[in-house]
Symmetry: C2
Subunit: 340 residues, 2 copies
DNA sequence: GTGAGACTGGAAAGCGCATTCCGTCCGGAG
DNA sequence: CTCCGGACGGAATGCGCTTTCCAGTCTCAC
């Protein structure tokens, strides 16, 4: 009834434990063909399933990969997770998942828990916060690497971790340039609180590019870094639009630092009978999978989310020294929401 | 440099290994307060991190929970995963994730890998396939439970697993009734191949309810169980709509067995200049989070995805005997896409 | 004052496996 | 025919921790 152990298999096959181990678990030293056969048969006979825990203890490698994301139900992260998971499978690793609800403390707990489970590597995906909020996670990762693990972050630098950097600044700058090209000059930034580094990177680079192009940032709206944040910004954006229309000025163009915020914003504007793109133009960032089916279709910066997940895993499992190219491309995608 | 072991902590504190273990790892037997203090200090001093692998081996419980989903980047599954992950955290469990790309073989491999890692329980989320395709996974789960694990499935029965059942039939029937109430009589079913049990359940119950109400199912379109399948069905649906209009009949109402298919369909119809809901009505199923922001807003059956994930985990970690209520509610949500 | 309990801390036996080390056997070179 | 090297199977050790089991101490009732 109880699960058979390797010892049982060995007994059943009439060989020693060592031989059974060598046959079944990829040793460099393979016993003679006849014994191999016997052991295989015995294992099948008993329905033997190797105990990865015991293996991990003996080998002091677990084959586990810790993945911490800030919200697994957010398409941004679930896409990254999909890429990471696929890559992990290809590398013969299992993924331990933690979703932190965007709470830096939960992030630290997750890393600590992964360390306790002796994962071979940890991938932390998501924006960094203020240095104070990041410190505990960074320290935790420091200990983790000191203990022989490897840390990778998808986002901004954090402690000793290797970094897969989303092209936030470059993408936002290119987006601004493309919008300028289209003739937009009057912009509104829909960003998130200062502590959200990704939002700052995108909004900052966008603002700089706008200034460089001779455009104008009318206002910076700070909201939650989520769909509801975008929704909440709708009323203020509507006001700005009406003022512009009243003054006979060109309709303003809102850059939402995230697609989900753009979508929330558009939903609210629709409630308020503010037309996109006629009364307000809207652009987002990320090109999450569902975006292409929105109406109006939304201008955005497309970044390869799944590939970023894969890259992170590649960096996580790479041999020491083997530097993994972490260059991530991006592409501005102009759609209806910013049409003039 | 190397990670300190419990033995090192014990030495550092001048106590035995047993005492250190009792202090640090939740034993029922707590040593005297002075020793507790000394051990705690020593652990902090050395930066001790318990080795969960070794613990698991000694305790023969890992505290791990295996979650296998069919596509983590699909909102249906990422919502379930979010619920499962949150519940797991509350129960002090870690989640091992596998995403199978809707491949039954990969499903079996995932379960086998989880079994090897000696997870305490396995949750398999997603539709079942044909009995032949399900057999290997079922067998794997059988062995797993025989070895003392627990299996839970979110979907349809599978081997020995406890079941959290999405209200497919009831939801589809209620949706049909609600649409009947609205005056719809002419329906098209956008379903998936026979092997996709969830699609069959939904389409079947819907068709029955339509028949019972005196309505008519004009056609059953079979496509992939995904956004692209819905998209691909667009041309045929457009034809049907034009025929209806030509014959002066009421615009047909398409029931797509999944929201993502409905969204794909609507996208294609838009390309084809077929208006929803004027020329065709469309309803979906699931009420995935992003659905509410679609234009037109889409009629659907709302089911509590996150809660289903939570329920599954609750069933997975429940004591033997303690039966967990697995009743899952649903609600028909009528929106613009089926307005008359 | 004495013995029975109730506690407490420590020694030691595993948990299931990988791997080092050792002894044996074989073939081939000298 | 001898000797050496290589191949091969098995015994034994250890991975880091939990958990009996044991022996010693303390308390309290009698």
């Amino acid at each position: 009834m109880a699960r058979p152990r390797l010892q049982d298999v060995a007994n059943h096959a009439g060989v020693s434990l060592a031989t059974a181990s060598r046959v079944l678990n990829g040793s460099s030293r393979q016993p003679g063909p006849e014994l191999v056969e016997r052991v295989r048969a015995a294992a099948a006979d008993l329905g033997y399933v190797v105990n990865a825990q015991a293996q991990a203890l003996a080998r002091s490698r677990t084959g586990l990969l810790g993945l911490v994301v800030q919200d697994i139900s957010d398409p941004y992260f679930s896409s990254i997770a999909a890429g990471a998971q696929a890559a992990a499978r290809e590398h013969g690793r299992m993924v331990l998942l933690a979703s932190t609800e965007r709470d830096p403390d939960a992030e630290r707990d997750a890393v600590a828990a992964f360390a306790a489970h002796r994962v071979d590597a940890i991938v932390v995906a998501g924006t960094r916060w203020s240095p104070e909020e990041d410190a505990p996670v960074a320290a935790e990762l420091e200990t983790f690497e000191a203990g022989g693990g490897r840390a990778v972050v998808v986002g901004q630098p954090l402690g000793p971790a290797r970094v897969v950097r989303p092209p936030n600044a470059a993408g936002a700058a290119d987006l601004a340039a493309a919008l300028h090209e289209q003739g937009h000059r009057r912009f509104v930034l829909l960003s998130a609180p200062d502590r959200v580094v990704t939002a700052q990177e995108r909004a900052g680079a966008f603002a700089d590019a706008v200034a460089a192009g001779g455009g104008e940032v009318l206002e910076v709206i700070e909201q939650q870094f989520s769909r509801d944040g975008g929704f909440a910004a709708g009323d203020r954006v509507a006001e700005i639009a009406r003022e512009s229309a009243g003054a006979g000025l060109d309709a303003p163009c809102v850059f939402a630092v995230t697609d989900v915020m753009a979508i929330g914003l558009i939903a609210r504007l629709r409630d308020l009978d503010v037309a996109v793109p006629d009364d307000v133009r809207v652009a987002g960032f990320d090109d999450i999978p569902t975006l292409r089916d929105h109406v109006p279709s939304v201008t955005t910066v497309s970044i390869p989310l799944e590939e970023m997940g894969r890259l992170a895993v590649a960096a996580a499992v790479a041999e020491e020294g083997a530097e993994v190219g972490a260059a991530v491309g991006h592409e501005v995608v102009l759609r209806e929401s910013t049409a003039r």
